[in-house]
């Protein structure tokens, strides 16, 4: 069925701000006579005609000095030598080690155009110096012996229920769904943009623990509703509405610390949704104080299964040293999906000490779990979803090759919505870009159609990249990639001479 799924249309969704941020800055000096040549020449649409002189209003699409080899290179062709291209100084301040400026700009490009960046932007890896950033695919032959046939022959679909029980077998056409970001932590427009993109991609989006706003009800079939310790907004009625219910035991951004929504984000609407008091901080304590054993955990899972007889149950856990045992416990308790949330991800407010130090990165946790489940003979009975630090289509493909069935995303969605990684989402008016805010004025900065399309565009591009990777590896389906360590190389463990020509 999924092979015939019609993927949504890509539509341009340019930056909602007047000036998009790009790698290069194009300026036109007063020497310009407004001959309009540059407007005609540039195939990337960098220029727009202006009354006094053209405007380089889309210089984020400029390919920079490397354009000099082209006969349309505006700098050389300008009769008045009025055009200057230089690196954008702002890039220095933008982003961080995990999401450097190039990865941000590359992701914005995908969200804007639905295509891989044509500029020389590294949209595949960050600059963290380890994990995914040191792992590369090794394609057979220099460019891959490749799979013949069209891209349509390659399946990126995954099964979410592999238990063989009587519950529905849900297949999603992309190996990804969108993770929990609660109402209160992000704006309703952000929440709806994510949900609607999930609908368009025929996948799922999780509500997080903050209730189930009525605006979401039209999309029930694509929503995962979350049950966490605070039980905010959790009701029998919400559990019954959906096809997947997720237990959140822990979260990668603050493993072992529970949830915390600062008082100034708790607006009257947020408070009503969570059955709490406006203006007071809300804690979701850690852990579930009713769970001391796998048996207790099983009671939880049974409770959900009894309340909604069709739902799949997902368990979201963090990555301690005994993560393999935790996953096995969840399997025996009857979970269909285990989401492993690695320590470097997450979006909400978290103590820096927790984000950096507690629990292990997903790159270590996932292989450990995959191997253990294989040894236990149950790997094919449970769906393993990786999250917490998946930033690009390449990270997604790498973690699948390391043993995940698919991934769950959050931060990447926000980046698609032009999050700039300023790290201020913890406070009420903190997000000046209207993404992670409950402030009405700031919420008004973003339109729903635009937000939805940006996320669709980005994930459609990710899918295209995944198809390309599978094709180069000679694989016909993403399920063939699961656990294929042999197609990966870690740059610390491979000889220099092997790297050349093999790595992408």
């Amino acid at each position: 069925m999924m092979d015939h799924f019609q993927f949504p249309e890509i539509k341009k969704a340019p930056s909602r701000f007047r000036n998009a941020l790009g790698k290069y800055r194009v300026t036109i000096t007063r020497a310009c006579t407004n001959c309009g040549l540059c407007v005609e020449l540039c195939p990337y649409g960098v220029y727009q005609a202006g009354s006094k002189r053209p405007k380089a209003s889309c210089d984020h699409l400029c390919i920079g000095p490397s354009c000099s080899k082209n006969d349309f290179y505006c700098v050389d062709r300008c009769p008045e030598k009025a055009i200057h291209i230089r690196s954008n100084p702002t890039f220095e301040v933008l982003g961080d080690r995990r999401w450097p400026a190039e990865l941000l700009a590359g992701t914005w490009h995908m969200a804007e155009t639905g295509a891989i960046p044509h500029q020389d932007l590294n949209y595949k890896t960050g600059n963290s110096g380890g994990g995914f950033d040191k792992i590369r695919f090794v394609f057979p032959g220099k460019n891959g012996t490749g799979k013949t046939g069209t891209n349509d022959d390659i399946s990126t679909a995954i099964e979410l229920n592999r238990s063989g029980d009587s519950r529905p077998r849900i297949t999603i056409p992309v190996p990804l769904y969108l993770g929990g970001m609660s109402f209160g932590s992000v704006s309703i427009v952000t929440m709806l943009s994510r949900v609607r993109a999930a609908v368009a991609l025929n996948t799922f989006c999780c509500t997080g623990e903050g209730g189930y706003p009525e605006e979401l009800m039209d999309y029930d079939d694509h929503i995962i509703t979350q049950v966490a310790t605070g039980l905010f907004g959790v009701r029998e009625e919400t559990i019954k509405r959906v096809r997947i219910v997720e237990f959140k035991y822990a979260q990668g951004a603050k493993p072992g610390l529970g949830g915390h929504l600062l008082g100034d984000k708790v607006t009257p609407r947020v408070a009503q949704m969570r059955e709490a008091v406006a203006g007071s901080a809300l804690f979701s304590p850690f852990p579930f104080h009713s769970v001391y054993s796998v048996e207790d955990h099983k009671k939880h899972v049974d409770w959900i299964k009894e309340t909604n007889r069709k739902a799949l149950v997902s368990v979201k856990v963090s990555t301690p040293t005994d993560v393999d045992m935790v996953v096995v416990g969840s399997y025996y308790a009857g979970a269909h999906i285990v989401q492993l949330d690695g320590s470097y991800g997450g979006t909400g407010a978290a103590p820096d000490i927790a984000k950096k130090n507690i629990a292990m990165p997903i790159e270590y946790a996932l292989p450990k779990v995959h191997k253990f489940l294989l040894e236990e003979g149950i790997r094919d009975k449970i769906t393993i979803i990786a999250s917490g630090g998946i930033r690009s289509a390449y990270d997604m493909a790498k973690i699948i090759a390391m043993g995940a069935d698919g991934v769950c995303l959050g931060t990447a969605d926000l980046v698609a919505l032009e999050c700039i990684r300023c790290h201020h989402c913890e406070s009420g008016r903190g997000c000046a870009r209207g993404i992670a805010t409950t402030d009405e004025e700031l919420t008004g900065l973003m339109e729903l159609e635009w937000g939805t399309q940006r996320i669709i565009n980005m994930y459609s591009t990710w899918r295209a990249q995944l198809v390309n990777i599978l094709k180069r590896l000679g694989m016909g389906s993403v399920t063939e990639l699961v656990g294929r360590f042999d197609v990966l190389a870690h740059m610390d463990y491979i000889k220099e001479e092997e790297i050349e020509g093999e790595l992408d």
């Binding site: 701000f17 007047r18 000036n19 941020l21 100084p89 220095e92 301040v93 080690r97 995990r98 110096g129 380890g130 994990g131 040191k134 090794v138 951004a253 493993p255 072992g256 852990p287 769970v291 001391y292 054993s293 796998v294 207790d296 301690p320 040293t321 416990g329 320590s343 979006t347 103590p351 820096d352 000490i353 927790a354 984000k355 950096k356 507690i358 629990a359 292990m360 990165p361 270590y364 292989p367 450990k368 630090g389 931060t411 999050c419 700039i420 990684r421 300023c422 790290h423 201020h424 989402c425 913890e426 008016r429 000046a432 870009r433 360590f485 990966l488 870690h490 740059m491 463990y493 491979i494």
Partner: protein, 460 residues
């Protein structure tokens, strides 16, 4: 249940302009002074807070900007840029990074722990303490909620020789005597500084801070003067002169003394203790490859507490120095192996720069630790090391008011204490004494890399 250890904090503003990362906002030539950026777009009212004159929008060094880029992105003429603050880039050095320094400043000013959104933005791992992750408990462990105060997590540790087993006489009387122990409510002692501007104000800030927190500050015997002597109950005297000069009266009024390691260290310890049996003697050793053996020998001879000191970068002495956490692991495990670990107190110091280092050093085997430079940074030190060269301190630390300094230090320690609770809470551990040596529940970069990646890339 003992009363909860609570550190009172109070907002304590900087004396000097803070150096922040976001740095420069520059208006390019051609700005029409439309003030859209100034008046309308800035959510944080940065421009107003800085009293910027709209008519003079030129380069501006910026300490309030939150890096949201709204002004850059909405300027009708695309004339605004942002750049990194050059002074920020050159703060500290490779170890005492600008991120660490500004993180310490924030805590010293507010007493709060650094919290941020949008996940982790730093490097995957790094040398030293960054090659280690702490554990957490998922499901099947005791409830724990120390952070929000609903449950008690103890951070108390004891300094001194420990009795491993009681000896009983024929009639059941306890015949062994318990050596003295000093309890500190947080596993941190303030050390002498590797460098600092001259004068008494800085050591006094440390002593005021130590008193407020219930811990100790180490002061040199050579630096003793009547003002410092007032703080003897919270001072650890480091014997850097003639031990005979200390005098029985002083030895009678201090609780802990620290002596350098040397051939006659134990003799000196015994001499001090014969004057004041309640006194605890710490032996200070420069950390190095011989430390495990030295520690074992000293323990056998009756040492009570060892202070193993690395340099300000956490490195031991020698030509190919190990990082403190590696050697502390070895010292701890060596003593465990020989069955004597529980008899003595191991204190580590050198290179401890952040709250997480405190937890990690304890996991690697220390009972407690000492800190130095972070306390100076709490008082706005920029780790420029000018004072080391005898040049004037840019933040005039020699003239600091010790009371202000102690509030800043107390705030910093409150932040560290809360962060230690976060880590203990996440692990499901209720007291820091149990964190010591819990290496099986930590995760080390080398092990994880080997287990996960070593097979990767080897083909054919």
């Amino acid at each position: 249940m003992p009363p909860k250890y609570h550190i009172a904090t109070s907002q304590s503003p900087n004396r000097f302009q803070k150096i922040t990362r976001s740095g420069i906002i520059a208006w390019e030539e051609g700005c029409l002074k439309c003030a859209r950026c100034v008046k309308k777009d800035c959510v944080y009212q940065v421009y107003e807070k800085r009293n910027l004159d709209n008519r003079q929008m030129l380069d501006s060094l910026d300490s309030v900007c939150m890096d949201c880029f709204r002004c850059v992105q909405n300027c009708p003429n695309r004339l605004i840029h942002k750049g990194l603050n050059p002074s920020y880039k050159v703060l500290g050095d490779h170890y005492w990074t600008p991120e660490i320094i500004s993180n310490l400043w924030f805590q010293a000013e507010s007493g709060r722990i650094p919290v941020s959104g949008a996940g982790y933005g730093g490097p995957f791992s790094g040398p030293g303490f960054d090659a280690m992750w702490t554990d957490m408990s998922e499901i099947v462990r005791p409830t724990r909620d120390g952070i929000h105060g609903r449950e008690y997590i103890s951070t108390t540790v004891d300094i001194g020789r420990k009795v491993v087993a009681l000896e009983l006489g024929p009639d059941g009387d306890i015949t062994s005597s318990a050596p003295p122990l000093v309890e500190i409510p947080l596993p941190v002692i303030f050390d002498m500084l590797p460098w600092s501007p001259p004068g008494d104000n800085i050591p006094l800030s440390f002593l005021y801070g130590a008193r407020a927190l219930g811990t100790f500050a180490i002061v040199r015997q050579s630096g003793l003067n009547p003002v410092i002597r007032e703080f003897l109950p919270h001072a650890i005297i480091y014997v850097d002169g003639n031990p005979d000069d200390l005098g029985a009266q002083l030895l009678g009024s201090v609780r802990i003394i620290e002596i350098p390691n040397g051939e006659d260290a134990i003799t000196l310890q015994n001499r001090f203790k014969s004057i004041n049996p309640e006194l605890i003697v710490i032996i200070r050793l420069r950390l190095g490859s011989k430390t495990p053996e030295q520690a074992l020998a000293l323990t056998a001879q009756g040492a009570e507490a060892l202070h193993c000191v690395a340099d300000e970068y956490g490195l031991e002495e020698g030509s190919d120095p190990l990082f403190i956490k590696e050697r502390m692991k070895e010292v701890h495990l060596h003593l465990v192996d020989k069955g004597v670990r529980d008899q003595i107190t191991l204190i580590g110091g050198g290179g401890v720069a952040m709250a997480e280092h405190m937890a990690k050093l304890i996991i690697c085997g220390a009972d407690a630790l000492t800190i130095d430079i972070p306390l100076l940074v709490a008082m706005e030190c920029r780790v420029c090391r000018r004072c080391k060269e005898g040049i004037t301190c840019p933040v005039e630390l020699d003239s600091v008011d010790p009371l202000w300094g102690s509030v800043r230090i107390t705030n910093l320690m409150a932040g560290w204490h809360s962060q230690l609770l976060e880590i203990l809470g996440a692990m499901g551990i209720r007291e820091v004494r149990r964190l010591r040596g819990e290496m099986g529940r930590a995760m080390f970069f080398e092990d994880l890399e080997r287990e996960t990646f070593s097979a990767m890339g080897k083909r054919g």
